[in-house]
Each structure stands twice: as C-alpha cells, then as structure tokens.
C-alpha cells in the first residue's frame, strides 16, 4: 500500500520539480543581452573570463537563485503557519516577522547604522528586526495556544507597521524616502552572491526547524487536544514552527523587501498535490513559492525598460485576485 501511495505521489511532485527547473533555466536565459545559458554557466563554473561568464555568474544566476530562495522561504513559511494555525488564510506576515524585518532594514537606511557591514547591514538588521518582533509576539502570546499567537502576531505586526510608517514619515530627505519605499516594494535585482550566502543558511535552518515538526502539523489537523493526546508537545512545537517561519520570512524580507501573497497563495496551490495534508505540503509549497517568484521576476524583466514594476507590486497584483478567489470558494463552502 505504501508503495502504491508513493507511486501515486510521483507525477505531481515530478511535474512540480520539472516546472521549477524549466522556469529556472527560463529565468537564466532572459536579459538585455543574449547569452547562451549552458555555455555561460560552464564558463563561469570553470572560471573562464568573458562576457558570458560575467553575465551569468554576476547577474543572472544570483538573481535567479535569490528569487528561487525567497519564493521557497515564503511558500514554506506560509505552509507551516497555515498548518499550525489550522487556517488557510494565515500569512507569514501574521507573525510580525515581515514587518519587523522591514523595520530593521529600513532603520539601517534611515540611521545609516552598521556602516562597516556594507550590503550585509540591512540584511542583518532585517533578521534582528524579525527576531525581535518574534520575541515580542511570543512574549505577548505567553503560554497561550497557537490561536493566541495569531492575535499577538497581528498586534506586533501593527506596531512594527506603525514604526515603519514613522521612519518613512521622518525620512531625512526625499531621496532617502524614495530609496526606502522602493526597497520595501520588493526586488531581487542588483543583488549578488553575498545576499545568497546570507539567505541560504536561513533557508536551511528554517526548513530544518519546521521539517522536524511535521508530525505536529499533521496531528494539528484534528486540533490541539488531539495533538496533545497523541503525545506531541503543541506549545513547544508551535513555538519552534513560529521561530522557523520567522527566520525564513525575516531573511527573505531583509534580502528582497516585501513580496506579498506568495506565502498565502503557494500553500493553497500546493494543497491538492499533498492530499490536503499539512505535513506533506511543505516541499510542494516551497517549490510553488519558488516558481511563482521566479515567474514574477521574469515578468518584471520582460516589462518595457524605463518603467520597471517592482517584484513585490507584481506579486501583490497577481496574488490579490487569487486571494479573492480563495475567499469566494470558502464562502461558497459555508453556504
């Protein structure tokens, strides 16, 4: 029976990975200069000098890998939080981590903090911001249930959002404000391997933390009482999942700004492929999140030059109708 089950799972998982690989190479092939993808990659890997290697290694590969990692982080954290809170409308920003990360990074721009760290300054500040808001959320929720975490996260997200608005309000000059706003709108362009070196460990740590709690996610399908009676530590496990999600979201936002709706929509799209099981949703949601952000970034690059639309704006524009469709579907189920 287990064998048959595994066979049944193969096509959707394989298609998902195939789609991701295809979009990955599509992303590598798109740009202002025509560069052969495989030749460019080969030249870059083998350290050969030349335009192909330069474009591929310095621009397209970091950008593609960054979009992929950011999407995977957002999709994974969304799947984990929806499973924890037993709510398909739960979004990673509900932990307050997105806003905390944005506030941390924006403060660096505003106060010119951590000048010695260069490009790492907003990244580190973003992660610290996400961590602090997470601690505040956990403290506010106390020893409460996951549902309380949602409310606490919402409160902390509001506070962080207000503080962020204050930072924007008192921006020292219009240029600083424009820089802040553009950064907040989300983008994976003009970033290098250094950003990736920051994001990938966070992705691994967040993934491992959440992956180890997949039994709890499965059990929580039937509620906290059942999960506890099955011998699982709901409180501790719930905090670990929130920590993992905050690391993922914090690192993603600190690297690429706000990229909305991916964390909400990716698990929703992945759910049919995982037979609705929250523990089996993690991989597919990460893969779909990565594909979505990659596709959105490709669309951004295909826009006419001079009128660049920011990645976060595009994902929000595409994600909102999907979100409305989700609400519509849920409304019909309740009638």
């Amino acid at each position: 029976m287990k064998f048959l089950e595994n066979v049944r799972k193969i096509p959707s998982t394989a298609l998902l990975l195939l789609g991701l690989v295809a979009v990955f190479f599509l992303s590598l092939s798109i740009g202002s200069a025509p560069v052969p993808v495989l030749a460019g990659l080969f030249e870059w890997f083998t350290g050969q000098p030349g335009l192909n290697a330069l474009v591929m290694g310095e621009i397209r590969l970091p950008r593609t890998l960054l979009a992929l990692s950011v999407g995977a982080a957002l999709g994974l954290s969304g799947a984990a939080l929806q499973g924890l809170l037993r709510n398909p409308l739960a979004d990673p920003s509900l932990t307050g981590a997105s806003q905390g990360a944005a506030l941390g990074a924006a403060s660096v721009f505003y106060f010119a903090l951590l000048p010695g760290l260069g490009v790492f300054a907003p990244l580190l500040a973003g992660l610290i911001g996400a961590g602090l808001t997470l601690l505040l959320t956990l403290w506010l929720a106390g020893s409460g249930r996951p549902a309380l975490l949602l409310l606490a996260g919402l409160a902390v997200a509001s506070i962080s959002g207000a503080a962020l608005a204050a930072v924007l309000n008192f921006a020292p000059n219009p240029c600083a404000m424009q820089e802040l706003v553009f950064w907040l709108l989300g983008s994976v362009s003009q970033r290098g391997m250094a950003h990736l070196a920051f994001l990938l460990p966070a992705l691994v740590v967040g993934f491992v933390l959440i992956w180890r709690q997949r039994q709890l996610l499965a059990a929580l399908s039937l509620g906290e009482q059942v999960a506890t009676s099955l011998g699982l530590d709901v409180q501790r496990g719930g905090r670990i999942i929130v920590l993992g999600a905050a690391i993922l979201v914090g690192a993603a936002v600190a690297t690429a700004g706000n990229i909305g709706f991916v964390g909400l929509i990716a698990p929703h799209l992945a759910r049919p492929l995982a037979q609705n099981r929250p523990d089996r949703l993690l991989w597919p949601a990460a893969a779909i999140g990565a594909t979505l952000v990659l596709l959105a970034d490709i669309a951004v690059r295909l826009m006419p030059p001079g009128r660049e639309i920011r990645l976060g704006v595009l994902t929000a524009l595409i994600g909102t109708p999907l979100f409305i469709r989700l609400i519509w579907k849920m409304r019909r189920e309740w009638l």
Binding site: N87, S221, L222, Q225, V226, G231, Q275, N276, R277, P278
Partner: protein, 242 residues
C-alpha cells in the same frame, strides 16, 4: 491489578480528590450534571490538564511515562472533533499511529473494519454525515491500539442507530483486558452498556460502583436536582426524569 487506579485527583476549581479504579475488560461511565467535572476528569487522565494526584496505569505511575508512551496506552476521543483540512478518511485514521511513529497498515485497516468505514477510506471527511464522521474519529483512536479509551460524550448528537453502533464498538474494545471510560449524558444507554459508574457533582465523587449502587433514584435525584425515575430490572433499563 487494576487497569487504571486514580487516587485523589485534584484540579483547581474543577476536580476535588477524585478516586476511582477500573479493572481490565470494564466499561466505566462518568456521569453527572453539566459542569460536574466529567470532561475535566477525562482530560486530566489523558494528560491534557495538569491535575494533581496519583494515576497508576497497571501499577505504573502515569507521570513517569513519556508523552508518547502515555499516548500509546491511552486514546482520547474529544467531545468535539473536526478536521481543519479536507483529509481522506484513511489519512485521519492513520494519524492514530503517530504515537507509534509508524503507519501500520494492518492496525489502520483493523480500526476501519471495526468501525465499518473501510468502504469510505478514500472519501474526504467533509463528504460524510455526522454519524459517519463519528465512526472515523473513533477509528482514529482505535488505530493507536490503546489499552484504555477515554471518550468524552461519544454519542452526543447522534441518532439512535449510531448511538448503538458507537457503544457496541466501545464495548467490543473492552475485550482482551482493555478498558473504556466514557462521559455520557444518556443514563439509560449507559446502564445498558457500562459495568461501573462514577457519579460526579461539583467536581467530587457523589457515588461510585456498580449500576445498582450508583443508579439509584436517591443518588441521581440528589446529583441532578430533579426527581428521577429508575427501573434497572426493565430491559433495556429505564432512567428518566420523574
């Protein structure tokens, strides 16, 4: 040796020095008015509430067991069950194997056979009626092959057919030295199926023992605050407000 031996179980404002025992093969009914502490008692035994006192499971103190070991021995069926996601019936039943960290196909199918839901294994839970769902929730508990099942009002809001069905399944579970403790409001149904009774009032034991000791007009009328007519000689037994 008693399957479960509870001594002086106390939970602030809910339970006050509750002591009871259950032998292997028994079905114990916890009865009493609303707010008497029935659910609190079951939840304390399941490890969901931090009650003080001693609970021995076949002589082993419950507090010395790891949560997973406790979950392997004691299955808990809450009063209100639901699934956040539209899971297949088989997937829900398989969740009962979590304490064992396996997916024992035989145990899962045995639980579905016992509850008569094997024909709907691939159906989604939200496609089933309330009575069918009740059997799925019970199958999830059976799949973990516990020695004791704690069932909190398992027949509430079920029609007569499913009430009898669920009680039959629980009775069957007590074979081979296992036991069932259930909170129940239908006293006549409980009198038909259960071996011993624990009558609670304000978190304390009002009466405990065999049906003829506990299900008396005096004890029940006093506990529930209304005159109650009892006829245990009738088949099935009659217990109604007078």
């Amino acid at each position: 040796m008693a399957l479960i031996d509870v001594q002086n179980l106390t939970l602030e404002n809910r339970l006050d020095s509750v002591s009871l025992t259950m032998e292997p093969g028994e079905m114990l009914a916890v009865i009493g008015p609303n707010g008497a502490g029935k659910s609190s008692l079951l939840q304390s035994l399941a490890g969901l509430l931090p009650a003080e006192g001693d609970i021995l499971l076949s002589g082993t103190p419950l507090r010395t067991l790891k949560p997973t070991d406790r979950a392997r021995q004691i299955g808990f069926l809450p009063q209100f069950c639901d699934s956040a996601w539209a899971l297949a019936v088989e997937e829900i039943v398989a969740l009962g194997r979590l304490p064992w960290r396996d997916r024992d196909a035989e145990a899962i199918w045995q639980a579905m056979r016992e509850t008569g839901i094997e024909g709907m294994a691939q159906k989604n839970i939200n496609q089933l009626s309330g009575g069918e769902q009740a059997r799925v929730w019970l199958a999830r508990v059976l799949a973990s092959t516990p020695r004791i099942i704690l069932a909190d009002e398992p027949v509430a809001s079920l029609d007569l057919y499913y009430q009898a069905k669920i009680m039959d399944i629980l009775r069957q579970h007590t074979n081979q030295g296992r036991g069932v403790i259930l909170a129940i409001h239908d006293l006549a149904l409980a009198a038909r199926y259960c071996d011993r009774f624990c009558l609670l009032k304000h978190g304390r034991i009002h009466a405990f023992g065999l049906p003829e000791t506990v299900l008396t007009e005096v004890a029940l009328s006093d506990a529930f605050g209304v005159p109650i007519h009892v006829d245990l000689t009738h088949s099935p037994p009659i217990i109604l407000p007078a």
